[in-house]
Amino acid sequence: MVCIEARGLRKAFGTKVALDGIDLHVEEGRILGLIGPNGAGKTTALNAILGLTSYEGELKVLGRNPWTERDQLMCDVSFIADVALLPRWARINQLLDYVAGVHPRFDRTKATTFLSRTSIQLDAKVSALSKGMVTQLHLALIMAIDARLLVLDEPTLGLDILYRKQFYDSLLNDYFDRSRTIIVTTHQVEEVQNVLTDLMFINHGRIVFRCSMEEFESRYLELLAHPDHAAEARTFKPIHERHAFGRSIFLYDGVNRQQLAAFGELRTPSIADLFVALLGEKSTNHEIRERAAL
């Protein structure tokens, strides 16, 4: 089933174009990573999907128009925008009461079970919690909602490394299943590499690259070239070359693994390296679009 379907999604703030005609097609049961530099249009795209901002073009989320049907849509969609948005005046009990009162798919027992594994007291105020605890609380609320789409916009921003690891672990272990869809944006791409099923790069309001993670793993190769073979390795037209510890590191797109094996160590590149290769300063948008021809 299709979760999100967008055609020519466009949004401009005055003369600044935040989304420049995006086409999106997200199937149910995927975990999509939306990666891009600051100001690329990630948050605007998510806001449009969540019905928080108006847009031009066609957009259907779970078959609904998010801008005009936000309240009905939110029965099936949850989101965490970033860490600091739970109301600080609220007590945990009050938040549980409220969500249980207004949300048909909220399971209060589930939320309290999650919370009982943390050190959060139910009669505490949000303002008394640390940043990490607020995120845990928000996650407990969200994971107790039986939603079909979960949107995470920089969910681990400002969290320390322990919580960040925990966050994605609970997400996969306690929440994700085949019928749910998750969209996540983050700058910490290394954290989500093993979590995602699909990858999308966005820049200047356009989708500049997309592939599934299976495709990513079979298509892209990183070669840590032996110094003697660097020149030979270069003849296979790497899409990017960098240097570390006096050795050349090449990134290849669609080159046969056997052909390269003799030149050094092969490994799957990180998303960050591919991002730099495709969107780094040398690449123009035009080149990227040619390479990412779908």
Partner: protein, 305 residues
């Protein structure tokens, strides 16, 4: 990937129920009101504090006699302190309403919690109407309940003082006509403090949803500007008087006795037919509705500041 597979298995047993239990609009409205009371504790803390102070002051004046002839101890003319107490509570109500409305749609944008509220299936209309209901329904009832309790306690205190000093308690009770006073207080609160100033409250709600900062200044500025221009061009104060009358209630047009410029005295009888038949009241409702619709549209499109 193993984790994912495990998680999938774990959840396959408890697949999503096809039909979720419905939550009625009334239920969402009720929880939205609850949320406002949790968020704005001053709505009841301020009136309760004022009432407590008033009660202590009244008790002291009754018992010790701060004035030459203590206010409460004239069984023949007992209404003074009760009306004073009611007026005090109503003044508190106005102040709390104004502060509440000026912050109602601003606070959630300022602390970014609007993103959390909007992640739940509650419509902007429900949220804004719940906020509008606070000065229109919740606060008047709250003020009434507190003022009622305060007057009861005052009556008990003065009865006890009269009893101890050997004066007639019966005369006090006979002259006070307590239930008529209570009924008129409720009537006055609904008319003069909820319905009549509604456009002002809705205007403040609208500005609180629109302004990025300094909501009070943005709310007052147009009034001063229009009033100033009117004064300079025509030399009159009609607009300022109009706004002022909505706020602190010059009900001259609706009151049977038009000399009451400031009817904090709930015994002032506003005739119901005069009040409801006043076109200004209905014009006020129309203006309030326009402001409310605009505030709902703003809630729809505005995000955190």
């Amino acid at each position: 990937m193993n984790n994912q597979v495990n998680a999938m298995r774990e959840f396959e047993g408890e697949s999503r129920s096809a039909v979720a239990p419905a939550v009625s609009p009334a239920q969402r409205f009720y929880w939205s009101i609850r949320r406002e009371l949790w968020e704005n504790r001053s709505l009841y803390v301020a009136p309760l504090t004022i009432a407590a102070v008033a009660l202590i002051a009244f008790s002291l004046s009754s018992i010790v006699g701060i004035w030459e002839t203590p206010l409460s101890l004239d069984p023949a003319k007992p209404h003074g302190p009760y009306n004073l107490a009611a007026g005090l509570m109503m003044l508190t109500g106005i102040v709390v309403s104004i502060f509440y409305c000026a912050d109602a749609l601003h606070g959630e944008r300022r602390d970014r919690s609007i993103l959390f509220w909007k992640s739940l299936p509650v419509s902007d209309t429900t949220t804004v109407l719940a906020k509008g209901c606070i000065p229109l329904v919740v606060l008047p009832l709250l003020i009434f309940a507190i003022a009622f309790a305060l007057q009861w306690l005052m009556l008990l205190v003065s009865s006890a003082v009269l009893f101890v000093s050997g004066k007639s308690v019966a005369e006090l009770w006979r002259n006070l006509s307590f239930f008529r006073m209570t009924w008129l207080l409720l009537y006055h609160l609904v008319t003069a403090h909820a319905l009549w100033p509604l456009p002002v409250y809705c205007w403040l709600l609208l500005v609180s949803g629109w302004a990025r900062r300094a909501t009070f200044i943005w709310a007052v500025l147009p009034v001063i500007a229009i009033g100033g221009v009117e004064r300079l061009v025509f030399g009159t104060w009609h607009f300022a008087a109009l706004v002022g009358s909505r706020l602190i209630g010059n009900l001259a047009t609706g009151a049977a006795t038009s000399r009451d410029a400031f009817p904090t005295d709930p015994m002032t009888h506003i005739h119901p037919s005069c009040f409801l038949g006043n076109p200004a009241l209905w014009l006020g409702f129309v203006i309030a509705a326009v402001f409310l619709v605009a505030a709902i549209r703003l809630r729809h499109s505005q995000g955190p500041i």
